[in-house]
Every structure is written in structure tokens, then in C-alpha cells.
Symmetry: C2
Subunit: 348 residues, 2 copies
């Protein structure tokens, strides 16, 4: 390990190669590995699956030499800097702990945990171990999201007063929790719009529960400090516009579908008493990283922003990303937890 | 009076002329009178203002011969079939009662009352008197709104699950109640989307109050029967997108700005597991009545739909419009009342 680490030091012109392991071989692991394979000074060293066959299939597809037949074996692989945890959400806490205990930095696909307490336990473990951990809410790393905050800071839409985000698609109802699968993107968006200011209270929730006890469609109204308000709608039962909006005293920002991996937003000012029209629509557009591949999800090329941020943090010895700190991460998870606390109980 | 009525009977080819009085001389009275002046078999017979000067100015502008220097004098004018009540909202209940007591049919500009009990008193009075009364939520009479219900009925977007509407503009904060001025359009839209099914409960409200006690920005989350949910945002403090959305299990209807007087909506289907994209966008467009004039408000030509409905009902001897029954009207007012019941108390 020492020899590997020494051979892998940054030089002024060649950044240290970051060695990735992929834990889980599903559709998002596939998209993310395609992206990692396109990045400079980045190496996908190993994949881990529940079976040798699964690991081999994935390894063959993406040219990964080392294929582990268990998650434990992958986590124990000392060649790795960082593990990308891409198993089904319900396994994330355990899989993250496995990797952190083994001394691996971790990028965990969302949602990292069912709620804030479990998320905090994982974040605390990473801190104790001095390891990097990132909750992979990839939206946070898109250039459009930073530009959106610049527009807010410029005062172009005045003082931000409300925001809303909606993310519904008609797949998976009953198999997963809507608020954890798509709601987390909405919560992150609201938190971003309100500059990571934690909310005062979840003021109302309407949750439609699947008979198995999982939430399949959730609306929530959230009160933020300074009279601001956020609302979110998430669903695995039916589609919604999957757009997000930020309203200010002098205008509106609209992030169209797909708002959680945005390449575009519009800004419209509206000032003046009695005005019933909009101002000119200003359009902000951002091209995706030029990565080709057979992607499963829309705008998966944008996973490169997140992957590069992980590389950058690990090279710099950071244990959290300044773009999505553990505090901001917990704040999102606390929104989710407060919403879940208001779910009706489903009789079994 | 009898002679006038006899001379004004329908014949097979010439519908009876409906004789209107205009009570109030503000911007909406101006737009509405422009529209009435363009309709066949419709006559603006008189205007009433708080002063002779105001009545004369309005009369001169719109070619109205009879100008009353008080609302009482207008209401007492037996030449009139119907009075359009266009005074500031806070006066509406009293002004409607004045006209009904005088035996006039009434079209009252929104909002007709501060809440459901006051609205019910007006509707009861009209029924007792055998007079026509309509709450002028003009959205209800736009062809786009009927077409939207046809799309829902066709099953194109599956089963309707949620709807939202947002109407904010940055004028009048402190002078009026947001929920009464613009929120009523949102409530009407939700009620229309859910086929006039009264809600189960207002599940949450975030209301920002002006120091004078009036609501200036309100968000509400409303639970409807069969697991459906509506959310609305209204504001006189800041702009919002002023669009409305209906989500179903298989697609989404979007009514863009200005949703409360719509000439357009789009329908997008999204079916199939795991789909992250939209189907083709189907656009429905409707031209406004061809009426020229110096209008104060957007799409005011569409006031003709409402005015024609009043004419039609009065000619037919109806005391309520089948397109916006007193029961539907009360249901909207009950939504508003339930929201207002959750407002915080402002200390004076």
C-alpha cells in the first residue's frame, strides 16, 4: 500500500490517479463507470458484485480487470482509493459502513440512508476514520446549479421568497420510497434555493402510501426562515412536470425538465405595479461533458461533475466536499425525515 | 316596466336584449363594458358611481346615457336586467345585496365575499328572490377550460392524481388579500381539475401576512378525496410563474401563463416503466373573441365568455349557471375559508 501511494503522488503536471472500485452492478453503476472510464487520471480498478458471474459480466463490459465476488472483498481491496456504492438504496448504510471500516473513501449513490439519524451515523464514521464521504446527490455539481446561485446573488430576481420542485415518474411504486428516490432531489433543490438555510418546519404533508407501507406519492409544504416557503412533490406512481421554480420579489427562475440534472434555466423579471406580463426571458444553457456511452439515465454524462469533485477532494486530502458539506447533506436528510415523520401509518 | 319586458321578448331569430348596469367605474369595469359593448343583443343601459362626476366620465367614455351618482340609484333603476358589481372586493357583499334586494340579477366580480358564510348569505338571498347570481370567476367560461376537462375525461393522462396552480404578481401587497384576489383563481382551478369534488382538508398553510393583517403571500396544500392533492401559491408581493398543472397516472397537462384566462394548454403523456422522458407534447390553442379595445388586463376579451353565459342564463330564466353552480361557487369559497382559518394572527 505504501508503495502504491508513493508511486501515485501528484506531480506539478500529472495529478495523482484516483483508483475507483464499483460496488454494485446495476444501471446507475453502469452509467457511472462509463463516465469514470472517460476521465483523465482516473482508473476503475475493481468491481464487486454479489456473485462472481455478475462481477465478471460487469468487468467484461467495462474492461475492469479485478472482479470481486462479494462486496466485502471489494471493500477490502487495498488498491482502491474510493468506492462508489451503487447498490439498491435500502443497502446503502450497511455498504457505506463496510467500505469506511475497510479504510475506503466513499461516494454513495442517493439516497444514502432512510433518514437523518442513519445518515449522521455514516458521516460520523467517515469523520472518525478521517475518510472522504460524499452523498451522491449529483445535481449539486452541475454548472447550471452554481450559475443559478450566481443569478440569485446578483439580485436579478430580488429577494428569494419561494421555491418548488416536482419529480414524479411512473416506475417503481411500491418497490421504493418516493421521497427517498426522487423527493431527495426536490429537497436538495429547495435547500439550494434557500442557501442551505435549514427549514423552520414541515407545515403540511399529503402522502399516498403503497399497501406495503412505502410512500408512493408525496406532497410537502415547508416553511423556511424569513417567511420563505418551499413545496415539493415526488412520486413513483405517476409523472409530474419534473421542473423546479424559484420565485423572488422581482422575478422567477425556472429550471425545466430534468431539473435534477440541469443543463438549462430561464430567468424572467417582473417589476412594476399592476404588471400582468413577464419581462424578456433570459435563457442560460450549459453543455454536458462530451462523453459517449450507452447511458440508462437522462444526462448521465453529468455524473462527470460529481466524479471529478470526488477526485479533486481526495487529491486535496479533503474529507468532505465544500460543494456539498456533511452539514448540507444532513440538512437535506432532515427535510426528508421531517416529511416522513408526517406519513400516515399503513395497516398491514 | 311591463311594456319594456314585452317589447324585449325573444323571437325565434332575435334573442331578447339583456340590459346591463355597471356598478363601479374602475379598470375591470372598463374592460367589461368594452366587451359588453361588442356583444349582440346586449345593452349597457346605465352606470353607477359614488359621484356624478365619476359616472359621467365613465358614461362619456363608453357611450352610456344613464349615469347614476350613487350605487343605490343604479340598483333601483328598473330598466336594468342585470348589474355587474365591479367595486373593490371588500364592498362586494353589500353591493350584491343592494342589487338583489332591488330585484336585479347580479354578476359579481371576484372575490364575491371574504369567505363561505358571507358567500352563502348572498347566494341564499338570490335564490329567495328568484334572481340570477354569478360569481365572476371568469376562468370557468373559457373554452380552454372545457377542453381541458374533455382531455381528462378522455383518459389521456390516466387518473388525475394532483394539481397545482400559482398566481403571484407584485402589486397591491397590503391593499388586498392575496388569497381573495389571486388565490381564488388557484382554488377554482384545483376544484375544476378534481371535478368539483370538495376537498377533505387543508393539510398545511404558509401565510406571510402584511403588518395590516392582510395576507400577502400564501401557500396551501390541500387533500382531496381518493388520495388526490392540490397545492396553490398566491401572492400580491412577488411574481410567480402563474401557470397551472394537472398530473395524472399517465401524463401531465400544463396550462401556461396566464392560466386563469387560458388560451392554450399542453398535454404530455408518459407511460412505461423507468421512462425518464416525456412523450410528444400535444398543444391545444384557442383564439380569444375578436374584440378590440383599450384593455387594462391580459386576455380581457375573454370576459365575453362570461358575459354571454350571463345573457344566456337570464334569457333562459335560470338563476344559476350550470357551468358554475352555486354549489361549485361555495366549494371554492370553502377552500378559501379553510385556508384563511389557518392564517397566523397579526399583532396590531
Amino acid at each position: 500500500m505504501a508503495a502504491v501511494a508513493e508511486a501515485n503522488l501528484d506531480t506539478p503536471n500529472v495529478p495523482r490517479i484516483i483508483r475507483w472500485g464499483i460496488l454494485g452492478t446495476g444501471t446507475i453503476a453502469s452509467d457511472f463507470t462509463t463516465v469514470l472510464n472517460s476521465l483523465p487520471n482516473t482508473e476503475v480498478v475493481a468491481v464487486g458484485s454479489r456473485s462472481q458471474e455478475g462481477a465478471d459480466r460487469f468487468g467484461d463490459k467495462f474492461g475492469i480487470t479485478v472482479r470481486h465476488a462479494s462486496y466485502e472483498a471489494l471493500a477490502a481491496d487495498n488498491r482502491l482509493d474510493v468506492v462508489y456504492v451503487a447498490t439498491p438504496s435500502l443497502r446503502h448504510v450497511g455498504d457505506c459502513e463496510l467500505c469506511l471500516q475497510a479504510g475506503r473513501h466513499v461516494l454513495c449513490e442517493k439516497s444514502m440512508a432512510p433518514g437523518a439519524p442513519e445518515a449522521k451515523a455514516v458521516l460520523d464514521l467517515a469523520r472518525t476514520k478521517g475518510l472522504f464521504f460524499l452523498h451522491g446527490v449529483w445535481s449539486r455539481f452541475f454548472p447550471a446549479m452554481a450559475a443559478l446561485r450566481d443569478v440569485i446573488a446578483s439580485g436579478k430576481i430580488g429577494t428569494v421568497t419561494s421555491a418548488s420542485a416536482s419529480f414524479g415518474q411512473n416506475d417503481g411504486a411500491g418497490a421504493c420510497s418516493a421521497v427517498l428516490e426522487t423527493g431527495i432531489y426536490c429537497a436538495q433543490f429547495l435547500q439550494w434555493a434557500f442557501e442551505d438555510d435549514p427549514p423552520d418546519a414541515v407545515q403540511g404533508v399529503v402522502a399516498n402510501m403503497h399497501e406495503n407501507g412505502l410512500d408512493q406519492h408525496v406532497n410537502a409544504l415547508i416553511r423556511f426562515p424569513k417567511g420563505r416557503v418551499g413545496d415539493l412533490e415526488c412520486s413513483l406512481r405517476n409523472p409530474t412536470p419534473r421542473a423546479a421554480i424559484i420565485c423572488g420579489t422581482e422575478g422567477v427562475i425556472t429550471v425545466p425538465f430534468p431539473f435534477w440534472c440541469p443543463t438549462k434555466f430561464t430567468v424572467q423579471r417582473m417589476t412594476g405595479l399592476g404588471s400582468q406580463t413577464w419581462g424578456e426571458e433570459e435563457v442560460f444553457e450549459f453543455s454536458l461533458p462530451d462523453i459517449s456511452g450507452d447511458f440508462n439515465f437522462i444526462n448521465s454524462q453529468g455524473l462527470a461533475y460529481e466524479a471529478e469533485e470526488v477526485n479533486r477532494c481526495i487529491r486535496g486530502g479533503l474529507i468532505e466536499s465544500p460543494q456539498f458539506t456533511s452539514s448540507a447533506c444532513l440538512s437535506v436528510m432532515e427535510i426528508i425525515t421531517s416529511i416522513r415523520d408526517q406519513f400516515p401509518v399503513v395497516e398491514s
